[in-house]
């Protein structure tokens, strides 16, 4: 602050006794101001003209990078759906997944709560195995059901679906084969207990 003059302006009688010095602007302050102004112009030019940036472009770049790094989610899901099977191991593993993630809304014993029960015949979003897998994977955000596809692995989704389907079958007496479907949509039932295809 060597440039300080500390010369009083003599305004004090016009400002309730408060006088002011006629000191110059600090150099570093002026420098900082100019730097931010030039930076603002430079950034604007870079973002919109030279670099041709945009939110949309950033999103697509991030998505491309993610696709390259991780196998495409859709393919993984398709592959997993083909692997779906109700086996004793899957049901046991599915119970663990259920207890960790689902009980808050669907109840300790699938009796429901915030979310619907799985112990009756009513399926709000389709009662076929493929519907149930879709509901778990994509969720029903409007009703608070989280899309678990980004959270659970495809294998875990298969397991928890196997658990829910098995418990539902036990509770309602609906044959497993009915739930697993038939024809093109049919999901193989390794136990072989599903006899007749039901339309």
């Amino acid at each position: 602050m060597s440039k300080d003059t500390n010369r009083l302006l003599g305004h004090a009688d016009e400002a309730d006794g408060i006088d002011e010095y006629d000191n110059p602007l600090p150099d570093w302050w002026v420098g900082l101001f100019w730097f931010t102004v030039l930076w603002a112009v430079g950034y604007g030019l870079w973002y919109h003209v030279i670099g041709d940036r945009s939110q949309a472009r950033r999103l697509s770049e991030e998505m491309t990078a993610a696709e390259a790094r991780w196998p495409a989610q859709a393919e993984a899901l398709a592959a997993a759906a083909a692997d779906f099977a109700v086996t004793a191991e899957a049901v046991a593993a599915g119970e663990a997944v259920f207890q960790q993630n689902c009980v808050v809304c669907h109840g300790q014993n699938l009796e429901g709560g915030i979310g619907p029960t799985f112990l009756d015949d009513e399926w709000l979003h389709g009662g076929q195995a493929k519907d149930i897998l879709t509901t778990i994977t994509q969720g029903v955000p409007a009703k608070g059901m989280i899309p678990w596809g980004g959270i659970l692995s495809p294998e875990q989704i298969n397991q928890v679906a196997a658990y829910v389907i098995t418990k539902n079958s036990e509770a309602t007496g609906r044959p497993l084969g009915d739930i697993l479907g038939s024809g093109e949509d049919a999901v193989p039932d390794p136990s072989g207990s599903a006899g007749d295809p039901v339309g």
């Binding site: 602050m1 009083l8 302006l9 305004h11 004090a12 009688d13 016009e14 400002a15 309730d16 006794g17 408060i18 006088d19 002011e20 010095y21 006629d22 000191n23 110059p24 602007l25 600090p26 302050w29 900082l32 101001f33 931010t36 102004v37 930076w39 603002a40 950034y43 604007g44 973002y47 919109h48 940036r53 945009s54 939110q55 993610a66 790094r69 991780w70 993630n101 989280i146 980004g150 959270i151 659970l152 692995s153």
Partner: protein
């Protein structure tokens, strides 16, 4: 008579100032400070410990939070600014206020707005615009009262007995004019019933107008008038001339010109067009130097008075206030940079930032002014000089606990929300898990806020006993409470 020394000439002669209105606003300030801060502590408790919501609709966080923000900004902040303006404007312009009647209409009008807000917000009546929640009939009342204030203020200006307009007056003018424009434009709505209305803007336009208003409420309600208060009360308390007249001119005009464009930084990564987002971001960054101009002029005015800063609680409050002003006006522009905003937005970091400005700058400069004023207006020494120092330390440590805990909480949230695991899935898929992890920080924040409130309660008791105490002998020199 107030008197000044060192580098200043004797203050203007007593022209019969209206000090009663100053005392009225002063009293309202202290009352609303306690109310607003108490509600703040209550909602901080609710966030840390949910049963404090009491299970009643009227007492839930969602309704008490706007009550807190309205109470501290418009009730405490508004009244403290009016206290300072009604006092310093008369003295700086060496004339009584334009109209005693308008002064009182302004006072009682403003207090009734606050009471109406305190009734309607807990009842759930809201326009759902942040910092502009009040329903349309109250908005109309605000407009009327503001016009009354504006006529009274500019009427006083027209009757001034001085030629030179001191820098504090410029800041007050920017406050009166800009708040009128912001309030009216943002609140334009078509009434449907007495309690409900529909905004004239929709969708993105509504969001942009709202944040043009919201950000400039910070700029022109919590910044420019308080800079005006700093420019009057800091040199008065320090008894030193202002460091640089030139700096005050340049930073004033730069500040008011640049501030008004910065609002879109609240809408980064939204449907707002990219060019408008860039505009909000770069204008925010360009605000660093103009803001720091105010800080510099405050701190450098204290050259030659630093020995007193160690012992005088009034100057301590002011130094910490100006320092927090400098810190939060650097933090704000940093947070408005796209990459930083992507991490910080919607986290508790924003809450920490707001409170470093609100508790640190607005609160501390107000306390400094109020401690100076109670001794000068009522002409009495402080009843408990040491309490002022205790208040200072409670408030300062409280702010540090508040901001540091919120920085930590905000960074944790921001990083955990976006973290991915090796499979490219969310590492913390259950949102509420992250929320639960915030709890220790929320308790620390509550502690910081409670300390700040405790200091304010001590101040109120101190003022009460000071005002009821014996008048200071006329010969005794003005303020400076001992430590």
């Amino acid at each position: 008579m107030e008197k000044t020394t060192t580098g200043t000439v004797a203050a203007g002669t007593d022209v019969g100032y209206d000090l009663d209105i100053v005392k009225m606003f002063f009293t309202a300030t202290v009352v609303w400070a306690l109310v607003g801060m108490l509600v703040g502590v209550i909602i901080a408790l609710q966030l840390a410990w949910w049963p404090a919501n009491l299970g009643l609709p009227w007492t839930t966080f969602g309704r008490l939070r706007p009550l807190h923000t309205n109470a501290v900004i418009f009730a405490f902040g508004g009244n403290v600014v009016f206290t300072g303006i009604y006092h310093s404007t008369q003295r700086l312009l060496r004339t009584r206020m334009f109209s005693d009647t308008l002064s009182r209409v302004h006072f009682w009008g403003w207090q009734s707005i606050i009471v109406l807000a305190a009734v309607t917000l807990p009842l759930g009546m809201t326009q759902s615009k942040e910092y502009a929640e009040l329903i349309w009939p109250i908005d109309v009342l605000i407009t009327v009262v503001w016009v009354v204030f504006g006529v009274n203020f500019f009427g006083t200006l027209a009757r001034r007995k001085v030629q030179h307009l001191y820098v504090a007056i410029w800041f007050y003018m920017s406050f009166v004019i800009t708040i009128a424009v912001l309030h009216i434009v943002n609140s334009l709505a078509v009434p449907a019933t007495w309690f409900r209305s529909y905004p004239v803007y929709s969708g993105l336009t509504d969001a942009l107008v709202q944040w043009w208003y919201g950000h400039n409420a910070v700029g022109f309600f919590l910044t420019t008038p308080f800079l005006g208060l700093m420019y009057y009360y800091l040199p008065r308390a320090a008894e030193r001339p202002v460091y640089s007249y030139r700096l005050s001119i340049i930073h004033f005009w730069a500040l008011v010109f640049l501030y008004i464009w910065a609002g879109p930084h609240h809408l980064l990564y939204s449907a707002l067009p990219d060019w408008a987002q860039t505009l909000g971001m770069v204008f925010s960054v360009m605000l660093i130097a103009p803001s720091w101009g105010g800080m510099l002029n405050g701190l450098l005015t204290l050259r030659g008075a630093w020995d007193r800063v160690r012992t005088d609680p009034i100057l301590k409050f002011m130094v910490v206030a100006v320092s927090f002003y400098g810190m939060s006006t650097f933090e704000g522009p940093m947070m408005s940079i796209r990459a930083v905003n992507g991490l910080a937005h919607y986290t508790n970091w924003v809450i920490g930032h707001v409170h470093s400005g609100a508790l640190g700058w607005v609160g501390m400069i107000s306390f400094g002014m109020l401690y100076w004023m109670v001794q000068n207006i009522w002409k009495r020494p402080l009843a408990h000089p040491t309490w002022a120092s205790h208040h200072f330390w409670l408030a300062t440590i409280g702010i540090v606990l508040y901001t540091v805990s919120m920085w930590a909480a905000g960074l944790m949230e921001g990083l955990q929300w976006r973290a991915l695991n090796d499979a490219g899935q969310l590492a913390n898929p259950i949102f509420v898990d992250i929320t639960a992890r915030l709890n220790p920080f929320l308790w620390i924040r509550l502690l910081g806020g409670a300390m700040y409130l405790t200091g304010a309660v001590m101040m109120a008791v101190n003022f009460w006993q000071t005002i009821r105490g014996p008048e200071r002998p006329a010969a005794e020199p003005v303020p400076v409470a001992a430590d």
